[in-house]
Amino acid sequence: MHAVVLLHEGLDPAVDVEPVEPAGARHRGGPDVVVLGAPDRAALECALALATRVTALTVAPPGTRALAHALARGVARAIRVWDRALDAADVTVLARVVAAACGALAADVVLAGHRGLAGGSGALPGLVAARLGWPCLDDAGSLARERAALVAGRRLPGGHQEEAAVDLPAVVGVTAEAAAPRYVSVTALRRAERRGHETWDLAALGLDPAEAGAWPRARVERVDWPRPRARRTARPVSAGSAADRMRALMGGGRAATAPPETGSAASRVVDVSPGEAAERVIAFLRARGLLG
């Protein structure tokens, strides 16, 4: 099975996005705040786990590190598609390009991270599937292979869950829960960077760049940057473990707001027997009307 996994570097959600100057750089902090998103990494892990051959594909200008990450993780090929006509491309334009590339690569399955390569739109897998004439399975929180089909677990609104299957070839969109991302060492990253990736332009995909510039697309007219918000530095959380504190801090360096030290909302660690613990949990849930 040959899988093509779509990758995209986006803004690091842990770092505030702030304009440096009105018409200049998009955010302060430079390229360090661009990372491969968790759903894309999950898609990559799923592809590596399920397929015998994996190709990483991105539509991005030069400078992306997503393909080096994929190569370091073990994909066979890494391809960057770019053309000046793709600047400010919307999801429909991206879908055309990705569909053409996947056709050229003779993929059996296309995997994409949820809201990955289309700048936040979740429509890309469906649009690519429609262009290829394949079925689409989106929002997969888990993914397994059963002979010539893929079976996905999906969480639905309201706490429902469902299992869905799709015959190959297909396009599958996965969420971050689909697979735990594996660490890629800097040594492996640098080795992959030296190895380099393939670069395709639109002509290589059989598309006319002049024509592509005229493809209808939605335009971003204006960006309103988030307002600065007041933040508080908290006192150390005395009842929490260091691991909990570090997890709170890892969200971009914002100091965690301390939970109230007293009162019903206080975080507490109790050391009691399993039976007593169960009783306490039941009492806690009853007190909040969550248990009859």
Partner: protein
């Protein structure tokens, strides 16, 4: 009348004498064969530290002091004294045997009073040898000291030593009984045994010949097994001490052959020697905080696994469980407890390096490493927020090319953690109060790479170190100050080329200096009963135990009390080795043991001098009966000008974004 001397080969036929020489030669050959395998592995392994002088008069003197003085062994009084008796008894007996050879074959000088003094001395040496061997045997077989394994080979060797000691005295006793010279009263043990042999009416001469043969055979056997058992430390320990003396325990270096432990070229000579020299005494395991917390790490087994890996030509990571490798806090308690300075943590970090290259890293460590790689801080904070701690303090930020007297390296914990920020503010206020010209690097500061190296991400450490070195090279300063023990350690010992720039000074040392100079004058009481938790990386790794105590002594109304484990023998808080992020979630926390120790002193304040320790110990203050404060916070609290609450963990309004 018999001359006052000993007939050396009395009652020993020529064939037995020849057998002794042959046995000795065979024993030496067997021992050499046993040692040869280790020496071959040692030669094939990577020589590190490259270019460092192997030895000089100072190093030899230090090794002689270690071997003869047995300072580290005596830290466990029972084992130390027993070993001291055994070793010194053996050395005197060995020297005596050499002198007897000289007397017999070269210059017959053991006559008259010289002989009497010689005999008297050797009696005491024999007693010491026998008592030491018997004591060690009792500890292992009878007293069942918990840290000692029921190791059949070790028991057999100790039995052999006891048997050699006993047969030595019996040979002497039967010889004296058979010849009965009155001057042999000076050989008081042999004399007493001779009286017993005579009283029992035993045939002294035949008995002497049999015992002589037995004693000789046992001695040859001891020689033969010396290269194959823990006894090889007799030959290897001095070499081990000599080579380890060049190396600072806990200071890590890149793996010589890249990540991996599958080939000898990927191990250092020091690691090969560690494995060959270990006698499995278990002191390392007895002091390991991870072992005490029930985590699956046993430092002794790690060293033994290295030996097995060498013998079986297997990669170390196939013999050490990942959970064991990740549990190490790199506190180096094991290294300091080991009388031979055998390191465990470098082997565990080597194993970690393999797992990192394979991507087999836990989610918490992954998040920390990726944050360091992408944002320059394992705490996850972006550069733009590094100066939030300084809000309202008007701290000078040094730009490239500028100069300052003291460059304050804040560190990631000091920039992002709430308690770390409070410590940073206290240090900055104290520096200002003392009139110190200081500045910080602000957003240009990045992680030193310490967590990356200790988590086994060597490539990331190299990049982080290069970045920090370039930043430091871009400014001028007279002193580099840091309040993070981990930053101080890695900047001092693991940045190979400081290009003449000064090593960092830890804030406790600078604050003690400012107090001593009268530039900081503590006036207000800053607590009553305070106990100091020495950070491992400051006290044990770098030997700095006094500056923080000097600061505490200067605080009015403070009664400093010591925990049982203090100074270089401090107890670990559990944060080192990347465990601040990747602390095992199962089982009791290492910090809870340390905090229990602190509570037992009755102190209301646990003082520390490292933000990592502060984070770990903060998590154990749930009962509210004890507070964790950095020495800088306590000193700031005691300053006359400071208002209430200013010195403690405080609320710091964030810098306006954008």
């Amino acid at each position: 009348m018999n001359p006052v001397t000993r007939p050396v080969w009395w009652n020993v036929p020529a064939w037995l004498e020849a057998a002794l020489y042959a046995g000795t030669a065979l024993g030496l050959l067997a021992a050499a064969w046993g040692l040869a395998g280790h020496l071959r592995a040692w030669r094939q392994a990577h020589p590190r530290p490259a270019g460092a002088p192997v030895c000089g008069p100072g190093a030899l003197l230090r090794v002689a002091r270690e071997v003869l003085g047995e300072r580290r062994l005596l830290e466990d009084a029972g084992a130390g004294r027993a070993h001291l008796l055994l070793v010194h008894g053996f050395l005197v007996l060995f020297l005596g045997t050499c002198l007897v050879f000289v007397h017999d074959r070269l210059v017959p000088f053991l006559v008259g009073r010289v002989y009497l003094a010689f005999s008297f001395t050797l009696e005491w040496a024999g007693l010491a040898f026998l008592a030491g061997a018997a004591w060690l045997l009792w500890r292992r077989a009878g007293a069942r000291v918990p840290r000692l394994e029921r190791d059949p080979a070790a028991l057999a060797v100790l039995l052999l030593l006891v048997a050699i000691g006993l047969t030595g005295f019996l040979v002497e006793g039967t010889r004296i009984a058979a010849t009965d010279p009155p001057f042999e009263r000076w050989s008081f043990v042999g004399w007493a045994l001779a009286r017993g042999v005579l009283a029992a009416g035993l045939p002294a001469a035949p008995l002497h010949r049999g015992l002589w043969g037995l004693h000789a055979a046992l001695s040859c056997l001891l020689l033969a097994v010396a290269g194959w058992t823990g006894l090889r430390h007799l030959a290897l320990a001095p070499l081990q001490l000599l080579l380890r003396g060049q190396h600072r325990p806990g200071a890590l270096a890149p793996a010589p052959g890249g990540p991996g432990t599958a080939t000898l070229a990927q191990l250092t000579r020091a690691q090969v020697l560690d494995a060959a020299t270990c006698v499995r005494c278990g002191r390392c395991t007895a002091v390991c905080p991870a072992t005490a917390a029930g985590q699956p790490l046993d430092p002794r087994r790690v060293v033994q696994a290295t030996l097995r890996a060498l013998r079986e030509r297997r990669a170390l990571e196939t013999l050490v469980a990942p959970e064991a490798a990740w549990a190490c806090t790199t506190c180096a308690a094991c290294v300091h407890a080991c009388p031979l300075g055998i390191e465990t943590l470098d082997k565990l970090v080597d194993v970690r390096r393999v797992w990192v290259e394979r991507g087999e890293v836990g989610p918490a460590a992954t998040a920390a490493l990726e944050a360091l790689r992408d944002r320059g801080s394992p705490f996850g904070g972006p550069a733009a927020r590094r100066l939030e701690w300084a809000e309202g303090l008007d701290v000078r930020v040094l730009r490239p090319g500028e100069a300052t007297d003291v460059l304050y390296w804040v560190g990631c914990a000091g920039a992002f953690d709430p308690h770390g920020r409070a410590i940073t503010r206290a240090v900055a206020r104290l520096l200002r109060a003392a009139g110190v010209d200081f500045a910080v690097l602000g957003a240009r500061e990045t992680c030193t790479g310490d967590p990356a190296r200790r988590l086994g991400e060597e490539g990331l450490f190299q990049e982080a170190a290069a970045r920090v070195a370039a930043t430091l090279a871009s400014v001028r300063y007279r002193r580099l100050l840091t309040h993070c023990a981990h930053c101080a350690h890695v900047l001092r010992h693991e940045y190979p080329d400081r290009d003449g720039r000064p090593a960092p000074v830890h804030h406790a040392a600078l604050l003690a200096e400012l107090v001593a100079a009268g530039r900081l004058a503590p006036r207000r009481a800053a607590g009553s009963r305070v106990t100091l938790h020495d950070p491992c990386y400051l006290a044990r790794h770098d030997g700095e135990t006094q500056p923080a105590r000097a600061v505490l002594r200067a605080l009015p109304g403070v009664l400093a009390v010591e925990m049982p484990r203090s100074g270089r023998a401090t107890g670990c808080c559990g944060a080192g080795g990347g465990n601040l992020w990747a602390e095992p979630r199962e089982g009791p926390r290492i910090a809870s043991f340390r905090m229990a120790e602190a509570r037992a002193t009755g102190a209301g304040v646990v003082a520390t001098a490292c933000p990592f320790c502060a984070v770990m110990l903060d998590g154990e203050t749930g009962r509210g009966d004890v507070a964790v404060r950095d020495v800088a916070e306590l000193l700031w609290d005691s300053q006359p000008a400071s208002g209430p609450g200013e010195g403690g963990p405080d609320r710091v309004p964030a810098a306006p974004s954008g």
